[in-house]
């Protein structure tokens, strides 16, 4: 199978340079810190003693903490995917790539599949990092880590799926914007600044909330089911939320549209 070979070659590309584990390491530390802090803060909140404390459904607090694997960590598979695509342009490795396999659509498909696999791996790493410190600190402050909760394991599977889709979105973005610096700026500015603002603002009115749930970050949180952004009662309007599978479809559609646009605008162009 040509696609299998092409995918194996793309996986080898990812694992034969250092970027994948450097980003994974940063993600591990970042997600672990956030999950640990959330567990420490919310785990020690005593809602009965302090009437001004936000009303929290403490039965789901462990899920909110564990979901930071994707709610906080999703930017890392996007970055890895985008940088792996742009490095092909930057280092002119599209030349040997297309010489070895002139079927460019197949190469792009293999890249998306390979990166989704690595995105799933990132999901596992991020989950270890959110559940590890999260569960430990919940236990230390006297809460139940709820590792026996079926929802915990539903969340695990959905986080892995979300991280795989995010990695594919990264590849698609990288082909659409082949300039490495530009794509870095776009990814960071959108995920860390623009989208959080848009999501907060979209909850003000009903119709903006309807649109806002299709923002990639909202769709991702819908797919996972719990998120520090949506489940903490900050958004008091009646939140319209997508079903988990609808959230997954929105992410997949974003990846597909961006990949098709990238294929048409850069991937099939002359390699000079």
């Amino acid at each position: 199978m040509n696609l299998v070979r092409a995918t194996r070659a793309e996986l080898d590309k990812i694992f034969s340079t250092r970027l994948w584990w450097i980003l994974a390491l940063v993600m591990f530390v970042y997600v672990g810190s956030v999950a640990g802090i959330l567990a420490g803060v919310f785990g020690s909140l005593d809602t009965s003693a302090d009437p001004t404390a936000p009303v929290l459904d403490m039965s789901e607090i462990h899920l909110i903490i564990y979901s930071s694997a994707s709610a906080i960590g999703y930017v890392f598979p996007v970055l890895l995917g985008a940088l792996s695509a742009t490095s092909e342009f930057r280092h002119q490795t599209l030349t040997p790539t297309f010489l070895a396999n002139p079927r460019r659509g197949q190469v792009l498909g293999a890249k998306l599949i390979a990166m989704a696999v690595v995105g799933a791996l990132y999901g596992v790493i991020a989950l270890i990092s959110s559940i590890g410190p999260g569960a430990l600190i919940l236990s230390l402050v006297g809460q139940d880590a709820r590792l026996d909760d079926g929802n915990t394991w539903i969340l695990v599977v959905r986080v892995i799926l979300a991280m795989a889709l995010w990695a594919a979105i990264g590849v698609a973005l990288g082909t659409l914007v082949p300039n490495q610096v530009a794509v870095l700026v776009i990814v960071l500015a959108f995920t860390q600044f623009l989208e959080p603002i848009l999501r907060s603002v979209s909850f003000i009115w009903e119709w903006t909330a309807q649109v806002g749930q299709f923002l990639p970050g909202s769709a991702s949180d819908a797919l996972v089911g719990w998120s520090v952004f949506t489940s903490l009662g900050m958004m008091t309007t009646e939140t319209v939320a997508l079903e988990w599978w609808q959230g997954g479809l929105v992410l997949a559609a974003i990846a597909a549209v961006a990949a098709i646009l990238g294929y048409v605008t850069t991937w099939k162009k002359d390699v000079t």
Binding site: D12, K13, Q92, T93, V271
Partner: protein
Amino acid sequence: MAAATTIDVSQLSKAFGPVQAVSDLTFTVEPGQVTGFLGPNGAGKTTTLRMLLGLVRPSSGSATFGGVGYHDLEQPLAMVGTALEASSFHPGRTARAHLRIYATAAAIDAGRVDRVLTQVGLAEHADRRVGGYSLGMRQRLGLAFALLGDPRVLVLDEPINGLDPEGIRWIRGFLRELAAEGRTVLVSSHLLSEVQQSVDRAVIISRGRLVYDGTLAGLEMSAKVAVDAPDRAALLSALLAAGARVDPTDAGLIVKDIPAADIGAIAQRAGVPLSLLAAQQAGLEAAFLELTSDEPPPRVGAHAAPPVEGAQS
């Protein structure tokens, strides 16, 4: 390695926007010999090679391997080995990983990776990151990539650039060896002197057009000779009668495409004593320069250019 294959370029043209990079290029490269693909920088060599390799889409015409385009090759790397500019590497990847990735993608046996690394003399540096390689080592790695599939056809773009004298001697011998094994070898260069010791034939282009296609010996013939006699009129008529192309100048007659010895013989037969007989420019390099520089520079811009496209259609 399977049966021999030609490279067939037919009426190949490529325009990048308003710039005509390659115009109506036709030539054939035969197996069993080294063919030089020559022309000054910017003549369209790399564009031509990239069209041959399916990396750049021709505006018109075709470039194939015995009639099969690169996209339609069963196993591209096993048919055609390619070394383009020496910069198509991820600097953070080792040479071994670089080759292994493309061997995987092209369904080439993984054992070939070590073989070609040894063949080009990089075996002991195989696990170093390519970012630390010298230009010469990158050239060798480029060549290793070309040899990966044990191909019948080799297309090498400026493979001698950046090599040290020892490396140049090595690659010359290597090219001859590959051709002697019956492979088709096409080597581009902007310097004739770089390849004249290793090529059998030359395809020369200038400003995207073919200006010479033939043997190196034939190329030397195309040099100019200055000749003069006290009776210049008699000499001129003798040369014209012999079918020579002659340019009369103040300093004497300039004869094209006839070796000096033949001109002397023509004069003797006509009984015209000569006062001057000199090959005006010496050797291949001069002929090459003559071929690639005697056209006027192309005019740029809509106002200056004649309506070529309308005339062609």
